[in-house]
Amino acid sequence: MLGFLEKISQYTKEAFDAAKYLTQGIAVTFDHMGRRPITVQYPYEKLIPSERYRGRIHYEFDKCIACEVCVRVCPINLPVVDWVMNKQTKKKELRNYSIDFGVCIFCGNCVEYCPTNCLSMTEEYELATFDRHSLNFDNVALGRLPSNVTTDPSVTPLKELGYLPKKIMDPHEVSPLDPRAGKLPSEILDWMKNTEPSDSNENIQSRE
């Protein structure tokens, strides 16, 4: 008899718990309804890419020494470096350079290892084409300056969530000049320079 009653009380408790959790869940859903949509109305509004955004690769033909480091560090040996050896000057003569962005994974290794910094990553990401072969950029196409979200008059640039001032969730409310939450890398560097000696001393003392 007691076991039966215990079972019933357990059952009732579970039912009430279920109701409680359901109410909590609905409260969460309801709370979310009051928040502003985070939708970015894409062709009219665009997010400003972050500082280290790895977009389409920019290439400067004149800086390139045809060393082929980019080819060697590329996971799939993608860049095509077309050069000939000039017998008279005994120097490499670059004729063509191309990267196929339909195959590129934008890992940035080539940019990292390029000895002359002729490769760099841009913030351009709108690479859609009607034909996949038109993604095979030659040195002219690679040398074009990237399109810029902030300078396009038909686009409202929006800051990404990490670049918004503190306690602001909606990029529509901020002006482009508002600083983001936290310190900029340069400010952190300054702070570290100023506080480093005492900080390290304290650390050493505490360790001792």
């Binding site: 039912a15 359901l22 869940g25 609905i26 969460v28 859903t29 309801f30 979310h32 309804m33 928040r35 502003r36 949509p37 985070i38 939708t39 109305q41």
Partner: protein, 373 residues
């Protein structure tokens, strides 16, 4: 206490007779009007619900939702409907064409017929049939046949499984639903929806059935959600398992019939909850008090018009609050498994609804004043 309220039929027929029509002709002219009215009301209800569903879902997920079709995307359901209307009507080659066509019709017709018993005011309903709420329970039991039919006729394993699941779910949740309704009926001594609402409108919102039948309200709402195949009970069309359940092979207008059916059913269930438990067309404070405060005679035509419109607004408002709750529930709860569904129906709701019925009967005998002697 009970006022005659607006009587549209009498007014309409009297108007026609004053134009020189005979009584019978006037009656025949009146006949199709309520049906048209029901169809229009149901369709507008569905359009509004679809729009609300999309907008509220979007808000709950911090999206924007339909925006460009009309102001705030209000024309989006119309656009959807138009798209389905002009879409090709595909019948799969190995499907059973006749049953395939009959299935969606059998699903939709009972739902629309059930609107007969939904009152929006003292005389604002299509027919005050004596069996009232029982008609809805009987009609909603036809629906599984249509679902089984379309599931079988599609000649597709997902459709068949979806149809079987829908039928199993529908017949298991019908029983606690009927028992919850029975407790309400016991208190009002009548199956008629009008009597049920009148019994609740003695003292404004304090006399609503939700205070006397809190358990019944919860049971009814859970069962109504299960009957409408709303999340968390949308197993028959669980897209991760069954593609789209019994709707898998349907396209165009036949799919639209299913779509309409499910949304009309949702609005209907919400309306019935508001009628059975939330006082139907009743204003939160008794409308007679309002008349004395406003210094207007209760039986004056202007006040009757005012009371009638308040009644319609209140019924629809309560129903849409429940629709809103259903949409919130949709984005809160995960889908239950089929064994959990049947466990909930047979091992939880059924015993509880039986106990609820017993307690209601005992309370009715013990306190006949509060529980409708």
């Amino acid at each position: 206490m009970i006022s005659p309220g607006l009587d549209l039929q009498m007014n309409f027929e009297q108007a026609l007779e004053s134009f020189g029509f005979s009584h019978e002709v006037a009656h025949i002219l009146w006949l199709p009007l309520p049906m048209l009215l029901v169809l229009t009301a149901a369709l507008i209800g569905v359009l509004v619900t679809v729009w609300l569903e999309r907008k509220i879902s979007a808000a709950a997920q911090q999206r924007i939702g339909p925006e460009y079709a009309g102001a705030l995307g209000i024309l989006q359901p119309m656009a959807d409907g138009l798209k389905l209307l002009v879409k090709e009507d595909v019948i799969p080659k190995r499907a059973d064409g006749f049953l395939f066509t009959l299935g969606p019709i059998l699903v939709l017709i009972p739902v629309i017929l059930s609107w007969l018993i939904v009152p929006f005011g003292q005389n604002l309903l299509i027919s005050n049939v004596g069996i009232g709420i029982f008609l809805w329970i009987a009609l909603s039991s036809i629906q599984p046949i249509g679902l089984l039919m379309s599931g079988y006729a599609s000649n597709n394993k997902y459709s068949l499984l979806g149809g079987l699941r829908a039928a199993a779910q529908s017949i298991s949740y019908e029983i606690p639903l009927a028992l919850a309704v029975l407790a309400v009926v016991m208190m009002s001594n009548s199956l008629s929806t009008i009597d049920i609402v009148n019994q609740q409108n003695g003292a404004g919102f304090l006399s609503w059935n939700i205070w006397r039948q809190p358990v019944g309200f919860v049971i009814f709402w859970i069962c109504a959600l299960a009957e409408c195949e709303r999340l968390p009970f949308d197993l028959p069309e669980a897209e991760e398992e069954l593609v789209a359940g019994y709707q898998t092979e349907y396209a165009g207008m036949k799919f639209a019939l299913f779509y309409l059916g499910s949304y009309i059913n949702l609005v209907l269930s919400a309306l019935l909850v508001s009628i059975l438990y939330l006082g139907g067309w009743g204003f939160p404070i008794p409308i007679e008090w309002l008349s004395t405060w406003l210094g207007e005679s209760f039986n004056s035509p202007i006040f009757q018009l005012f009371a009638g419109s308040i009644g319609i607004v209140m019924t629809v408002l309560k129903a849409y609050l429940l629709v809103f709750l259903a949409i919130l529930l949709r984005w809160t709860t995960p889908r239950v498994r089929i064994d959990q569904l049947l466990d909930l129906g047979w091992k939880f709701l059924l015993p509880i609804s039986l106990v609820n019925l017993l307690v209601t009967a005992a309370l009715k005998l013990a306190f006949p004043i509060a529980f409708g002697g």
